[in-house]
């Protein structure tokens, strides 16, 4: 049962990821990315990492991609012609698909036997969230505080860059 769900979800994930790259219209690409994020959340859930799955939904699906959709709508990208140079031709698509197929075949061939499931043996039960939180706020304290610096840099950078010289707004 779990194996079937896993393969179903991974198939969706690969399909959505390919759609992100190959769909011509920006909106379709962003919405495929959203689908990909939802599927990833499902995969995390299957691994027993409920916290990661919910954070994936809150941060990526609920915030980062809202920003992407907003940009696509603000710029009305869809009416503009797709840039032909960056768009790969048919042979490129075909070879990429072949490569993906080969990768899948390789995984199927060398994947662990069905008894262990695709996750390679029994999944370790996730530690309680409290344990995880304490770990984050004591041993990985430096990384945690550095995250805030990273966020600060991102925010300041965007504010500065989105401003034209002499622009009031």
């Amino acid at each position: 049962m779990e194996t079937a769900i896993f393969w179903g979800l991974s198939f969706c994930a690969v399909a959505a990821a390919l759609a992100v790259v190959f769909l011509r219209q920006a909106v379709n690409g962003v919405m495929s990315l959203l689908a990909l994020m939802l599927v990833m959340a499902g995969l995390y859930l299957l691994l027993g990492a409920q916290l990661v799955a919910l954070f994936q939904l809150i941060v990526y699906a609920g915030a980062v991609l809202v920003l992407f959709v907003l940009v696509v709508m603000l710029l009305n990208l869809e009416r503009k012609p797709a840039r032909p140079l960056l768009y790969p031709g048919k042979p490129a698509v075909a070879s990429l698909l072949a490569l993906c197929g080969a990768g899948f075949a390789a995984i199927l061939r060398w994947a662990p036997p069905p008894g262990g499931g695709p996750m390679g043996g029994a999944v370790k039960p996730a530690p309680p969230i409290e344990q995880l939180a304490i770990d984050l706020f004591t041993e990985r304290l430096l990384i945690f505080e550095l995250t805030s610096v990273l966020l600060l840099a991102a925010a300041v950078g965007a504010i500065v860059m989105s401003r034209k010289a002499g622009d009031l707004s």
Partner: protein, 322 residues
Amino acid sequence: MKAEIGLVWRLLEVILFFAVIMGLVAYMTLMERRFLGFFQVRMGPNRVGPQGLLQPIADGIKLLFKEDLTVSHARRFYFTLAPIISLVAILACFAAIPMSGRFHVADLSLALLYIMAFSSLGVYGVLLGGWSSGNKYSLLGGLRGAAQMVSYEIPLALALVGVVVLSGSLSMTEIVQAQEGRWFILRQPLGFLIFLTAVSAETGRTPFDLVECENELVAGYQTEYSSMKFGLFYMAEYAHVLLASCLATHLYLGGWNGPLLPPLAWFGIKSFLVFFFFIWVRATFPRLRYDQLMSLSWKALMPLALANLLITAALVVYPPFG
């Protein structure tokens, strides 16, 4: 065999839960219209059935038989998808709301995060609905609505963190149990006010209904919608208000705790009172301007919510009375 029977019962219970939620959403529209009528010294809808009790059913049937309009240069796929996203995102949140200690879909240990995750997906309904209609009022309404929803999500979440600091748990059941002696509204009065303000802005109700502000934007992102697609947006709005009432009850008003009456009754009474409060606010306050709305969230509510959170945490770490 025994396990299978238990499973079937469980699923029937989930279906019953869902039916109760849908029934509440339908009859909340009637309650709101009747009460608004009384606030304005008129009767409200009272013709269909005794006291207008069949009105929601009549409305539903009428909407189902309306012509299904899609303007010619709308993006059809997203135009249809948007109301579905709106409704699904809100209704899915109810899985984490127990109506009493036992009547629930699942007792999730991460209930609050689950609700945050799904309710934040609702913004796609507004954005896509506004953008796909191919109408400038819709687009502007959608953008405004999205900016409003994300702006108020931050003070809302910060208020929720205050509750988590007090309860030390993300599970609804444990949060309710933590309030058995003293309701959190007494320990978080400021947090409660921030929660109520932010949540009415999230639901887009008066005084924060800038999303569909008639005199500027016709009907905002819903302008081109008709028939049951409009109906889904309408249901999503009331489901959101219901969710807000249930959350206020569970997080601040002691949930289903109460003397004498059964838990389900207490839950119903408290949620109804919170819902009545929302109607009252709608009948009383005029609409804000958009710049007022945005500065209220960023310049007032967010610093206040952060201060509230830090003070709460300090009081939890160093309790003043022992």
